[in-house]
């Protein structure tokens, strides 16, 4: 599952990707599959140890985090939160796999209701997408120009409602490359 590259074989580019936390050597070489040092993500990759010399694929980190949600106990958030269903997990992963490869990887999150979420918050672009396991997604987004977008009960494969946002995320990626 992990794409690991020993540091000796990895030459980071000179530029940093703005909008994400800075890491000393985690300069992106591929927008979709940018690499992160494992010391930042000790869990769920704890078997690698907290090492600054091993990089993992951001996409795999996100998938790993979402997978880890399935094993959460009841009341995981201290407010009665429930773990997600397998259906919500499947839907989130399928959606993630269908995203264009030339935009930043979204960040995962989980609501107390068990809804799995993906979000971007980059340079004025805000996107919140949720999956409850009914083969559909809902979202709310705002773009750089202050325009709002939203949709309910959308088929997983239908990215058209997000097209403007995806276009802006793509521009952001190109500007950062």
């Amino acid at each position: 599952m992990l794409a690991t590259i020993p540091n000796s074989e990895f030459t980071p580019p000179a530029t940093q990707m703005p909008g994400w936390a800075d890491f000393p050597r985690a300069n992106p070489i591929d927008v979709k599959r940018d690499l992160l040092p494992t010391e930042t993500f000790a869990d769920p990759f704890s078997e690698l140890g907290a090492s600054p010399d091993i990089y993992v694929d951001r996409f795999d980190v996100v998938v790993g985090k979402i997978t880890s949600y399935l094993s959460l106990p009841q009341d995981w958030d201290g407010y009665g939160g429930v773990p997600p269903s397998f259906s919500a997990y499947d839907d989130a992963i399928e959606f993630l796999e269908n995203l264009p490869r030339d935009i930043p990887v979204p960040k995962p999150m989980l609501a107390g209701s068990g809804e799995i979420g993906l979000f971007w918050e980059i340079e004025g672009i805000y996107v919140d997408i949720g999956f409850e396991g009914d083969r559909a997604y809902s979202f709310y987004a705002e773009d750089r120009n202050g325009n709002a977008y939203s949709g309910d009960d959308l088929p997983l494969e239908d990215l058209a409602p997000l097209s403007e946002i995806i276009w802006q995320l793509r521009l952001f990626s190109q500007d950062s490359a």
Binding site: G112, D128, S138
Partner: protein, 171 residues
Amino acid sequence: MEDNNVCRRLLSDREDCCINELRSVSEHSPGVVQRDEKLARLIYSPIHVDTETGVVTPAAFSDVSHSGLSTDRTNYATPHDLLQRGQAKEAVDREHGKERQFMGVIYGLCGDIRALRHEGRRRWFCIFDTALIDNRAHADVCQAAIAGRAEAKKARKLLRDVFTRIPEIPN
């Protein structure tokens, strides 16, 4: 049978959905929540925090659309009270074999929350003094009856925007 969903019980289906804010809803309460009060939301899970930025995720506010976002009124809960509550829960849950990590507290002003209006008219959120027998400072923030999962996501963004972003350990 009593409805355990606080928001469902307290939100009115009248035009003024927040009318129950005007009266105390708990016998344990020191009084209705005033607009100048600061509310504290305890964060008990690192899952609610973006590990890269330290900022709470939008999903950390999702309870507002369901059972209510539990908060503590800082006028009636000192930083020490909040710290004790967070650490006590952490200790008790760990004793029971649950992983628990008290991440800290984020804050929002009641007036800022109440000022949020849907399309400039109806209130997005109501705040009720739902004090508990062991926590007189307890209050719930409830999303008013605005339908749809997309609207719920807009609601949590609006709420997140008026709260502090990074949990801090009270002292």
